[in-house]
């Protein structure tokens, strides 16, 4: 069925567009974009007055937990949460059970998402078999079966030779390598950022340099081999500086950060709050400032959530015992919109980092509202006020540090392949 989206403020960085326009969708594609577009007979019309109409948001870093850990999340609940958060596409990380290191698992995810999901799902395969760190996955088959990148996310590839060979091999296949940059020996038994807060709480700290050292290694390996690399969940001032300098030298490095890294500091851990425990950990105020600066000057290309659902039983425990990670799909948009309010990013830059750039980095052929493009569209209500409530979240897990927090802005509607998958 045709769909006409009327009177919205259309913001499309891919065409440098920011104007009140109508968009006509037909057969899952953008058919027409302009002023005063009339609805064909039988077309459904959405009045988008007061809303932003943007290329469908893409979250390039999500843990869907399916297969194997469905008690935390599954493809249905996860994609439902994504659509409710305004995402038309998500990339899911390979640390499932079994690991996404073969065609069977990748195909299972793609097929289940197509049949029952609420948005597009692009799997990320593992760099090494079973995330073992010592034997390369069949990246060729992973790419052929639909994986858009490879990553051992959750842990670093510790062996530098393994990482260098993976970068070279992946470049030959034509698949992006996403690095979880962390020097594991420096992390040790750490459970939060090392700093004054960890000193006061008596919790073992993870020094920021653990991320910096690993980020430096990755950029040097990419530089030496002339390959591309994407650094996941950047959280430190040092990592931002290292990536900025590498980009200036011409290294093909891109990176992402997550809303919690530009919204919260390790102060959130006070009270031993396990919903403020993640890896990398929440850092300090100067890191938050550096992350914002990196977003502003383009060092940080993308905003991704690192949506990491965990069951209450895994979070409602002593701090050291609690699992790392928080959910993020349903809170990412309002938290990111705050960057516009604070003057860190223009609206155009924000949409670029939440849609166009992720598409470009991973070659998803989305992130645009050009005529002929796939009709993945997000309608954003910038002013709607709402409170994060556990029961209202679509995600199976409720491990958010923002439970009970007032939010401003959110998805008004999410259109995937021309079909309305979510409406507030």
């Amino acid at each position: 069925m045709d769909l006409l989206i009327k009177n919205g403020r259309v913001i499309d960085p891919s065409q440098n567009l920011d104007d009140t326009l109508d968009i006509l969708v037909a057969n899952g594609l953008i058919k027409e974009i302009g002023k005063g577009v009339t609805a064909p007979v039988g077309a459904e019309t959405i009045d988008a007055g007061g809303s932003y109409v943007v290329p469908g948001l893409i979250d390039m870093h999500v843990h869907l937990r399916d297969p194997g850990l469905e008690y935390k999340e599954d493809i249905i609940s996860g994609t439902k949460a994504a659509a409710a958060g305004g995402f038309t596409s998500i990339c899911c990380m390979p640390n499932t059970k079994p690991v996404i290191d073969n065609k069977a698992v990748a195909s299972y995810i793609i097929n289940k998402a197509k049949a029952e999901g609420f948005c597009n799902v692009f799997p990320v395969g593992s760099i090494t078999y079973g995330l073992s760190g010592d034997r390369m996955s069949e990246m060729g088959e992973l790419k052929e079966s639909g994986c858009v990148a490879v990553s051992d996310d959750g842990k670093p590839v510790k062996n530098s030779e393994m990482m260098m060979r993976a970068l070279q091999y992946a470049a030959g296949i034509g698949i992006m390598v996403i690095s979880h940059a962390e020097e594991i020996e420096l992390v040790g038994e750490g459970v939060m950022n090392e700093g004054f807060t960890s000193t006061e709480l008596g919790l073992k700290g993870i020094p920021r340099v653990a991320e910096d050292v690993a980020t430096a290694r990755e950029t040097l390996l990419a530089e030496y081999t002339g390959t591309s690399i994407h650094i996941a969940h950047v959280s430190t001032k040092g990592a931002v500086r290292i990536i900025r300098e590498a980009k200036a030298r011409g290294v093909k490095v891109t990176c992402e950060t997550a809303p919690h890294y530009f919204t919260l500091t390790d102060d959130a851990v006070r009270g031993y709050n396990t919903n403020a425990k993640m890896n990398p950990p929440l850092r300090e105020i100067d890191d938050v400032a550096a992350i914002k600066e990196g977003l502003k000057d383009g060092t940080i290309d993308a905003i991704a959530t690192d949506h990491a659902p965990h069951h209450l039983d895994e979070k409602d425990v002593e701090f050291n015992v609690a699992m790392n990670g928080i959910i993020g799909l349903e809170t990412s948009l309002p938290l990111s919109l705050k960057l516009v309010e604070e003057g860190v990013l223009t609206l155009n830059q924000l949409i670029d980092k939440m849609s166009c750039k992720p598409s470009e980095i991973l070659g998803l052929n989305r992130g645009s509202l050009e005529i002929g493009a796939i009709a993945d569209i997000t309608l954003i209500d910038p002013n709607i006020g709402w409170i994060v409530e556990a029961d209202a979240l679509c995600s199976k897990s409720k491990n958010s540090p923002w439970l009970g927090t007032q939010m401003k802005g959110g998805a008004a509607a999410t259109i995937v392949d021309g079909k309305l998958m979510y409406k507030r």
Partner: protein, 310 residues
């Protein structure tokens, strides 16, 4: 008499100067009981105290047990070896099961910092922290302060040197929190690998470059236990070299005031943190600390029960 309004005693950080002074002065009164022929008063008769110890302890557990018994409370000891922890039961489940037996106070030692706050959100009896990870050990902090007060009659203005592994020490944290609230000046020394970042921001705390700097004109010298198994291979070369730079001996103690006291929370590694002559010497208050421990724990049990002193 001032009123103690806290249901739990988890950290000296959570207590005010007045709270701490009240606990110390109550402990001073409790000491009389410990010197009597019949060392028992009926104050906590009918109250049940569970000592739940997830970490090995001799001194602290025994001290809490004796404290409870001297106040006529019924005390039960549970240590990890005999608890359900080994069967995979969660801390919350263990606590809820114990709670079903209606204790008035749970005294807990646990390896995870903040475990007591987690528990306090789950159960409705009083909780006393007998040590949590590297966070706090409030009864030790209080007994240390009482011992200092015994000698100097005050805490305000005292120069207290704490030497050793500050990063992993809950004893250091409780002392820093308590002492700086009561006006003492704390000087820390230890290898930089054992000095936590930002520790000087916890109060009137100075981080010293050398042990001598910390000892200079100190009223109190508190040595911390060094644990080879905890400090591992990366924090220091070995006990021998540690002792050379951070051990207390008859020579460097001369830097402190002539009437300075020497303290240690125990158990001591003789010849590592301090030489035997220091442990057993005239300036040592180590056994006095242990003695005061019982009185302090009586005061803690008493106040969380909301009692009034006759």
């Amino acid at each position: 008499m001032a009123e103690f309004k806290h249901k739990h005693i988890i950290a000296l950080r959570d207590l005010s100067k007045e709270d701490i002074e009240l606990l110390i002065s109550t402990a001073e009164n409790m000491r009389d009981i410990n010197c009597r022929d019949i060392k028992k008063v009926p104050t906590l008769r009918g109250k049940t105290v569970i000592n739940l110890f997830y970490e090995a302890s001799t001194r602290t557990r025994t001290s809490f047990e004796i404290a409870g018994k001297r106040l006529s409370a019924d005390t039960v000891n549970i240590t990890t070896a005999s608890s359900s922890a080994t069967k995979g039961e969660t801390l919350a489940d263990t606590a809820l099961n114990l709670l079903a037996m209606k204790p008035d106070i749970i005294v807990m030692r646990h390896a995870v910092s903040g475990a007591h706050y987690f528990l306090a959100n789950k159960i409705n009896c009083s909780i006393i922290n007998a040590g949590d990870g590297a966070h706090e050990h409030p009864s030790q902090g209080l007994l240390d302060m009482l011992t200092m007060k015994d000698r100097f009659g005050r805490l305000d203005g005292l120069k207290v040197a704490i030497v050793g592994d500050i990063t992993h020490s809950r004893v250091a944290r409780s002392n820093i929190q308590g002492l700086t609230k009561l006006g003492s000046k704390v000087y820390l020394a230890g290898p930089p690998t054992m000095m936590p970042p930002g520790v000087e921001k916890l109060g009137d705390v100075t981080v010293c470059g050398t042990m001598n700097e910390a000892l200079q004109d100190a009223d109190v010298v508190m040595m911390l236990r060094i644990q080879q198994e905890r400090q591992g291979k990366t924090l220091m070369p070995n006990a021998r070299e540690y002792s050379r730079y951070f051990g207390l001996n008859p020579t460097n103690i001369k830097l402190a005031k002539p009437n300075a006291i020497v303290m240690h929370p125990g158990p001591i590694n003789r010849g590592v943190e301090m030489s035997s002559s220091m442990v057993d010497g005239d300036q040592s208050c180590i056994l006095k600390q242990v003695e005061n421990g019982v009185a302090v724990r009586m005061a803690m049990l008493y106040h969380v029960c909301g009692g009034e002193l006759e």
